[in-house]
Symmetry: C2
Subunit: 322 residues, 2 copies
């Protein structure tokens, strides 16, 4: 069950991906033909995510390109968290009357650029005038071999807990913007402005049968680990020393533990795997870190370097308030 | 190709409808198993529609129940216009902080009531705080036998043009509300407040191979007929005397022709059928009216009782402006 974790073998799948968008924008519905590869039935994945001005982004903080990228990345990340393949996206977009057309063009181009990178077709959506502010809702449809979607509910006591990449970088960017917005922030905090959905990693974890439960870190580690524990009916113990913290800013300084624990919108994958499964330290080019394990009791404990634990409570991600 | 147009035979299909929502609300994505019936491959339909306060409804005009019903009805009507079967719905809902919880409860109950009536599962969505006003985006996923979706582009010269039900009732309600809002309006103008998606009619037209092109009348007859003509590459001639006008208000008076021609949000079906096809005057309990035919040239003409025609231009549906 260990086998080849390199991305190369997986990518070959893409050339035979059997989905076609028969009718896209310009009819009452999009028509998708989700054909199973030979002998392999598919389930269909659907996710929807709002991107609202003043809640999920601020026009004085985020460029149109960043907003377009983040809008689609949110949906792609949900597909990644199921171990799925994204197929088509739908964008509902309501715009204020006075929004410059150039903003819309840059937003759409950036979104389409990310879509193309992942082989996703923008197949429809809705447009409307907005009563106030830019309102977007992205829908991503994906597929996964029948019965193989990696749910939040599959973690079992003894399973190890892993996280991809590093955490807290997105929250640190928000903190920095509140203090002193700077033009160079997108370069110094790329994970906030241009998050990378972990599609390939999610697919490999599902294909290799490694992950017993998985979620993407959109609300923060404390909240998203709580989601896995609640859905699975167990608890967890994680070690503060093991949590990979993002390095951000001009000096590439490690973020505070608080950001890594509670900061949202990193869009890394949090997953569990039975202890007997070999999990490499890097999959599809992304570092994988073992941060703890699932326990029988339902609480989550954070252990410090002296092995003294305190209960970790979910601290929901605070969005931008004007 | 005429055969049985009664709804009875069709309803039997539903008992073997092979779709299951494996994982609904509470994971990163919903997982749908869209299984084809024996020997019959399916295509997947997806539609998304905004329902925005101040644009698509006004809280002082529309009850929470009406908003919830109309929100889902918009999506179901798009599925009907493809001849499809609705399967699952996803609701993205952003609410202002000060919105009474009772409003939300009534909205959701009404939406779920309509969903249940059509065998649709609410399988996911997103929630957020709204920066201003109630913002909803409804996504409906449906299915249709492979290659059988009824597109807008299939109309051919000589095809007859038909419309279901009657038109202009919804626009007349808006006109009445602008003049003098009254509490009894929902009873006197049910088509505006509680539109009925024509799912069964759409399915029968598709199953019998009757409709060559189809669209739902959401933007008004003049605009939606233009959509069919443009997609098909032809024109049309319709007769003003034949257009079925809604009877509304306490006196059940026929609406003005202008409302029937240009008023949106009636959610009736507009379809074309080859002249050789028998089209009954009532299908699935809904009156069907022959209003004209498709022509070779690309313009649309409206003929009066003296057979004098003038060119009919699309006059887009004006939404509610505060």
């Amino acid at each position: 069950m260990s086998a080849d974790f390199s991305p190369g073998g997986q990518m070959a799948d893409r050339s035979v991906r059997p989905t076609r968008v028969l009718t896209g924008i310009g009819d009452d519905c999009a028509v998708l033909r989700l054909l199973p590869p030979r002998g392999q039935e598919q389930d269909t994945l659907v996710t929807t995510d709002f991107t609202l001005e003043g809640i999920h982004f601020r026009r004085d903080w985020h460029s149109a390109e960043s907003v377009g990228h983040r809008c689609l990345a949110r949906g792609l990340s949900d597909i990644a968290a199921m171990g799925g393949e994204p197929v088509a996206a739908f964008l509902s977009l309501a715009l204020p009357r006075d929004l410059p057309q150039s903003w819309v063009g840059r937003f759409v181009r950036s979104l389409l650029g990310l879509a193309e990178k992942f082989g996703v077709t923008l197949a429809g959506g809705d447009t409307a005038e907005s009563p106030d502010g830019i309102l977007a809702d992205i829908i991503v449809v994906g597929c996964v071999p029948r019965g193989k979607a990696v749910l939040r509910s599959g973690a079992r006591p003894g399973d190890r807990i892993y996280v991809s990449g590093d955490l807290g970088g997105s929250a640190a960017a928000v903190w920095q913007m509140r203090r002193k917005p700077k033009r160079k922030l997108p370069r110094e905090y790329p994970r906030h402005f241009y998050p990378e959905p972990r599609i390939e990693l999610g697919r490999i974890l599902r294909e290799k049968g490694v992950a017993s439960a998985m979620i993407d870190i959109s609300d923060g580690l404390s909240t998203d680990l709580t989601h896995i524990c609640e859905a699975s009916g167990f608890g967890a113990e994680i070690e503060s020393e093991l949590i990979p913290r993002a390095s951000v800013g001009k000096q590439a300084r490690e973020v505070d533990l608080e950001f890594a624990l509670h900061g949202g919108e990193d869009y890394e994958l949090l997953f569990t795997a039975p202890a007997r499964k070999r999990v490499p330290s890097r999959i599809a080019g992304v570092p994988i870190t073992h941060i703890g394990h699932i326990t029988r009791e339902s609480k989550i404990f954070l252990m410090n370097r002296n092995q003294i634990g305190y209960e970790l409570l979910p601290r929901g991600w605070e969005h931008f308030r004007r």
